[in-house]
């Protein structure tokens, strides 16, 4: 009796909830976006939205501004995070995960709360924070995304075998050469995943801009502004273009990750 009542799942069936979720909230919306992107307000098929995006100075300017913010944020994150991750990974301190947690701790605090606090600090320093929109946005983004850079770097640096750096020293390399020719190339997978995790969200996260009184649009806010005026078609096209950009970047970085360590040297 009990045997018959017992529910038996095979592994594939365990995927059903996720598959349902995926279809309902990812694939369907995507199809809707594609539909809107290639139609006009009367529902007829058109390429106008696409042409509009690449001919309008306003949208192109936004794209450039987004890329600029994202690239600068990512670079600053990388420059600050690398030494921290390196020192943490190399330290002999037994409780180093406590230190690591301190760097990741801000992630546990509510996002708006953090940015509000940052706003207060920046106001205290600059008095009129609206005067430096680009700078403040970069500071805000860097503050927000730093842990996403530290963690993958820390992981890849702590995996690095100490005997490799010793071998390099043994073969005549000084500290700088050891870093350039062994440590840096071997941490490329960490750099790539860190960059991916910071670059992509910082192109679209317009909440930071809004809260820091930056009135310039980035990609995220541009989409928001179209949707706010019920212009589903243009908004969808921009979303689609952004999606393709992200897709291309991910594809490119994945290629580095796959051939990973062997490719490390050639791109540096």
């Amino acid at each position: 009796m009990t045997k018959a009542l017992k529910l038996r799942f095979n592994r594939k069936q365990l995927c059903i909830p996720y598959a349902a979720f995926l279809i309902l909230f990812v694939i369907c919306p995507l199809l809707v976006i594609i539909y809107y992107a290639f139609t006009n307000s009367t529902g007829q098929f058109t390429f106008d939205n696409l042409v509009q995006f690449f001919t309008n100075d306003n949208t192109l300017g936004t794209l450039l501004y987004s890329v600029a913010i994202a690239v600068v944020t990512t670079l600053i994150c990388l420059v600050i995070a690398y030494p921290v991750a390196y020192i943490l990974a190399r330290s002999k301190f037994k409780k180093k995960y406590v230190l690591l947690m301190l760097f990741v701790l801000p992630m546990w605090i509510n996002f708006t709360l953090r940015i509000t606090a940052l706003k207060e600090i920046l106001t205290a320093i600059e008095s009129n924070i609206a005067a430096y929109p680009f700078l403040n946005t970069v500071i805000g983004m860097t503050y927000d995304f730093m842990p996403f850079m530290i963690l993958p770097l820390y992981t890849s640096l702590s995996k690095l075998d100490k005997s490799l750096t010793e071998a390099a020293e043994d073969l005549g390399a000084n500290g700088f050469t050891v870093f350039m020719r062994v440590i840096l190339p071997l941490s490329v997978p960490g750099i790539i995943s860190g960059v991916t995790m910071v670059l992509l969200p910082s192109m679209t996260n317009y909440v930071v801009l809004d809260m820091l009184y930056n009135s310039t649009y980035i990609m995220g806010s541009l989409i928001g502004s179209y949707f706010a005026t019920y212009d589903w078609n243009n908004g969808s096209m921009i979303s689609l273009i952004l999606l393709i950009i992200i897709f291309i970047i991910t594809l490119a970085t994945n290629r580095f990750n796959d051939s990973g360590e062997a490719e490390g040297r050639t791109i540096l």
């Binding site: 010793e166 043994d170 073969l171 005549g172 020719r181 360590e261 040297r265």
Partner: protein, 503 residues
Amino acid sequence: MSDTNTIIELKNVCKSFDDTIAVENFNLSVQKGEFVTFLGPSGCGKTTTLRMIAGFDLPTSGQILLNGEDISNLPPNKRPVNTVFQRYALFPHLNVYENIAFGLRLKKTEYTATDKKGNTVVKKGRLTRRDIDEKVKHVLDIVDLEGFEKRSVSTLSGGQQQRVAIARAIVNEPEILLLDEPLGALDLKMRKEMQIELKEMHRRLGITFIYVTHDQEEALTMSDKIVVINDGEIQQIGSPTDIYNEPINTFVADFIGESNIFNGMMTGKLKVKFCGAEFDCLDDYEINQYVDVVVRPEDIIICKPGEGQLKGKVLSTVFKGVHYEITVEVGRFELVIQSTAYAAPDSVIGMRIEPDGIHIMEKVYTENKYDGVITKNNTVKFGDGEFECDVTQLYPGSHLDEEGYLITASGEKIDLTDVEVTAEVGFADITMSDEKDAGGVDGSIISMIYKGDHYRYIVRTEENEEDYVLACPDLWNIGDKVSLIIPSDKIKLTLKPAAGEKK
């Protein structure tokens, strides 16, 4: 003092990490072109010593001289030595060629060139691409990996990675090649092949090899000189034959090859008694001196019962390919014999040992002797522990009064608190218990040697690393945590001269 043939000399080198001493008072000089092996059990300090020569660890005190120059504090990249690492440590992001060329690309060499005025000048510069190509090709040829230049190191087998690691080191033409258990990760057959190849490479290259291993057979096969290390200290330095035939103490005898070790006593000029029989021997010690006797299993010759010095019953016979390993019971002792002759189990055989098969050595440990102090409660504290003891033995004819004060024979009252004494305990008087805190002190077993009818153990305490030597017929394991029980009447106390005046 350093003659021209000495390439590296270690003088009183010590190394400690935090509280633990890894290497103690290491003195060694290595000749140019020698194949020297550091041999010892794991954790004995052999790798630490190698790392100090390479420059990865700096000695706490002492000097390392290379060609007479002090290099003790030089960083590894400034030393003309190269290392083959235990796990190879090949760079995974570089191919075979780039791994080997790594050192060459960093190297600056002197070359002669002609300047504008036509004078020849010595210039320093990096090696040219062609030079590097040539050298890499040459070492790949030496290690038998021609044509592997473009291969990624992760696609190579263990043995091939090993060869790349060796090639990467020797391509720099180091004055000394350091090898840290390089064959440890290979399977037996591969290891044997590589041993022969390494030895051949050493012969061809003519550079000094310093080799670290815990495998005694490997050490005997390859070395010109073996340095046996235990517990951070050199036990014996010598050629493989010296070390095998004339071990200096029971540790070396036990570690190198198989051996029967017994307690013995000198009974006359060149005569020693052990296993209940008297033997002629070649080592001259004082009469009545207690000694350790080592007999190699292959030096015991089986003969008819009644002949030879010993007679015993065969307990077991195991066929080992070339020989039989025969365990024999002689009285309460157990002997192991390796012989090509067969002896049936349960049969009675006679055994003969020739004088040159008997190795006699002075006992390293003759007693447990510690500095101690008497506590308030008339117990004694020594060797990291506190024990009940009989304090009346300090003054003949004395006794204790009700308050615990000592009354001497003449009626004098003495407070013994904090009086310094010397405490002695016999080997057989200490018993071990696996119950924590059962005895006066806890420690772990760091050494054990079978002596025919009992084991000799050394137990080391954690706090101050005090050693207790004890004899026990039961089998324990190295690393076992034990508590040591010493009966109060077995602790022999004597007053220290200075303490005797304190009243």
